[in-house]
Amino acid sequence: MASLGKLAAQGAAATTLKSQNGGEYSARAIGFLFALWFSLFVAVLFLGTLIIVTVIEGAPKFSLNLFTEYSSSNPDNAGARAAIFGSVFVIATTAVLAIPLGVAAATYLEEFADKRRWWNRLIELNVQNLAAVPSIVYGLLTLGLLATVGFKSKNFVLAGGIALALLILPVIVIATREAIRSVPSEIRQGSLALGASPWQTVWRQILPSSIPGIATGSILALSRALGEAAPLLLLGALVYVTFDPTSLMSGFTTMPIQIFSWTGRPQEGFHELAAAASILLLVLLVIMNGLAIFIRNRFQKRW
């Protein structure tokens, strides 16, 4: 009791543990909670509506034809075969171009760059900013590049791959840097103290430990590239393709472009086709994101 008296003497108002202003169940707290729920509800409602409408509209055309047939003027005969192949070709090219380059750039910035040098800090800042540049700008950049080199035709697989690789490069750099940074410095020091060179340390310790993070970041970046249409439209990607791409120099279309083109047609049948192709694209994206989450959880290092 003596201590209680002392507390009171010190001006401590609370001599009971009962809440003074409603605590967890005050009107403000409840109101705020409802505001959060409402925001969540709006977001989920829109997503849900979009998915349900797309599935209902696209279901009749979501058949084998979609995978086996080329585009056609008759919606009943048309399919997205060329777009599916085109997307696979372009995304594969993008991955081959962007992943090694992004990982190498991130490794340099994290492990070798002297951060006291202003140019290294400038590069870092720019990489961060590049991730926020609108995708169409990368289309323009690629267009300019190809024109300078002297290409007349710009709608081939490699060009699309370059544009998308430029688009996702900053994302891969940032993800890889995060992965490298999460490797404890004890590992680095242990390796160097055993007479390993910095290069051997990166190659034998840092990068192998960073693979899950790099894979997760790369897959998420590629799934973004898979859904992009703007830079490819700028390069003049074809909308009516009746052949499979066969090489890096083949003309191509991709799924988002095919969807875009079908949506613009007057016939109802094409709208259904667009919805069906959208379902396919959504399923692909869900699979890729699921894979990324799986890798992240499965290989998460507990240091």
């Binding site: 680095r188 242990g190 055993l194 390993a196």
Partner: protein, 287 residues
Amino acid sequence: METNSPDQPASSATVRPTPSDVALPDQPDAVLTCDNVDVYYGSFKAVEQVNLGFGLNEITALIGPSGCGKSTLLRSLNRMNDLVEGARVAGTVSFMNEDIYGPGVDAIEVRRRIGMVFQKPNPFPKSIYDNIAYGARVTGMKVSSMDDLVEEALTRAALWDEVKDKLKQSAYGLSGGQQQRLCIARTIAIKPDVILMDEPCSALDPIATMRIEDLMQELRKDYTIVIVTHNMQQAARVADRTAFFTALPDETTGNRTGVLVEYGKTGQIFGAPNDKRTEDYISGRFG
């Protein structure tokens, strides 16, 4: 193994002189020497004017309160401080009469000859076998049989019997004490001349600490060991010679710079220190 609690100061009566004190020459036969060594981080001077020789096949302990620069000095002995941006060494650190910061000296070669064991056990996320073989692989060491090298290193680190049936398993499955002995084994495997230990037992329980201390006595026959420790009893138990550091505040900036106060045979430092500050520290009056 904490025989002395903090309120029971280590007096000369409780510290037995190490047996080797008797046979120990007055001046160490130094393999590694510091001449007027200052260590800077940028413009901040962390350690000032250290003159020390680490004797061949001796264990030298660096003791002193936190922030006295003993770990900083240790890391400058095998150029691990090179990894810290802005770190710089003035004066001369020589290994077998060769300046390790001299022109043309390869820091990687320095670290191969002067190994290091860290405060926290830091096994690589690899198998026990690969942890030991790592150093030999990266340095391109000529080995007739990697299996023999692994067995020899683990045996010398008194770990072989505990792990011989699980060499291919992850090193992360070992206990903290075993991991630290693995790190010592890994260091021995590349056959260095000097082993630097940065508070190697601070993350371990007393039993594991005792095993590491026993191991150090064994290793001393073939290696020169420098150990940084916060534990004075540990220094008294294992070290042949002890160097006591303290931190002096700069009059103008207030930055604390580490200085070497006293260096001598362990029995003398703990039994009859010459400097008042050493006496105060070892009897628990500060630090």
